[in-house]
């Protein structure tokens, strides 16, 4: 599943960039994400993703790897997790882009999400909608956090 999101943030690029690497504050923007830990600063992180669709709940202990980093411009990351209780795996490929537009920063990201295993039984459509919702909420939360801190 592919997703593309863009959000306009009334904050300078440096501030947005800094925010991304502030793991605790950044992870707090991802709905259902908790217990963020830095394993290797700038390279590896861990977190637990908890998502619910009605009565179906998944808990993915997730490892996030930063693959590429272009200062103030671009981040490429990969995340993967497995919920052994439900027998499902999650894979995320993330491309984050920042560009300046006057006094605003455009934060864009392209996400490739794969859900494998039993959870897929819920149906591609349901999962796609949920993933879309999560990414939307995430983008909005980042914007709100950054614009709120002024």
């Amino acid at each position: 599943m592919q997703f593309q999101k863009e959000v306009e943030i009334l904050a300078p690029r440096e501030k947005v960039w800094q925010f991304i690497w502030d793991v605790d504050r950044f992870i707090a923007c991802v709905p259902g994400c908790k217990e963020a830990k830095t394993i290797e600063e700038g390279k590896r992180y861990s977190a637990t993703m908890v998502e619910k669709v009605g009565p179906f709940k998944v808990e993915f202990p997730t490892t996030i790897e930063v693959l590429e980093r272009e200062e103030l411009t671009h981040i490429k990351a990969q995340a993967s997790g497995a919920d052994n209780k439900i027998g499902s795996r999650m894979k995320l490929d993330l491309d984050v882009n920042l560009r300046e537009q006057g006094d605003k920063t455009i934060l864009g990201f392209v996400a490739g999400v794969d859900i494998l295993g039993k959870l897929a039984a819920l149906g591609h459509g349901i999962i796609k909608r949920k993933a879309d919702q999560v990414l939307d909420e995430f983008a909005q939360a980042v914007k709100t956090k950054l614009e709120g801190d002024r």
Partner: protein, 282 residues
Amino acid sequence: MLRRFRLEEPQSVAEVSELLGRFGESAKVYAGGTELLLAMKEGLVQYERLVNVKNVTGLNEITVTDGSVTIGALCTHHQLETSAALTEKLPALKKLEQNVANVRVRQVGTIGGNLCFAEPHADPGTLLIALGAKLITEKSSSKREIAAEDFFVDAYETALEADEVLTKIQVPVPAANGRSAYLKFGYLERPSVGVAIAFNLNGGVKGVKVAVGCAGPAPRRVAEAEALLEGKSKDEAERNLAQAGAVAGRAAQAISDLHGSQEYKEHIVGVLLKRAFQRALS
């Protein structure tokens, strides 16, 4: 093989509610089990306790009172399809129930379970919305009424609170000039698209309700489609059906999946709306 769980067998709605409140997410209401047990077999959900509600009396009756048919949440689809009251007062619902799943599911599956599990590809919710049904729920000592059109929040998600129990479904008996129809389409085991329409034929088409289900995450009423038909003469309404169908199709929030692409489902919604309108008139 299912994972082991503890069976609770309460005798009253209050007891059911109390158990649900006490055990939270580790307990689940169990009636016919036709959806729940499948999810449990798949390993998608796990419960420490199943609360068997079938020993609670008074929840599996169909009664007709002043202008409405009250259906107990524990009524099985089979009970509904063979009910004389439904045949007489709510023939569209009777026909829907006759065609739910298969004979074995209809035998033990309950209308309450169907509505509360809120599986996207289900039939009854869509028609109950078009018929203006009210869902009566209880918890401990309080009751409330939820309009069917407000009951379905999202896929597998309803407006029910954690310790709330659906007890009855109240469906207003249509007026003598009332017309309604439910049509569905599908070639997999569960329906892919379901459309319901209800209105009074009173000079023109009045009090129209249109609902779409199965195509999107939850059944919903489509006011924008209703507006294109409301108050119109029969012929004018018929001319607006194509547009109403397109509106309803988009409102369905159709998702591309094994049942079909988004465009395909939207198209089918339009086809079914047209046919349902004509079926309702006949």
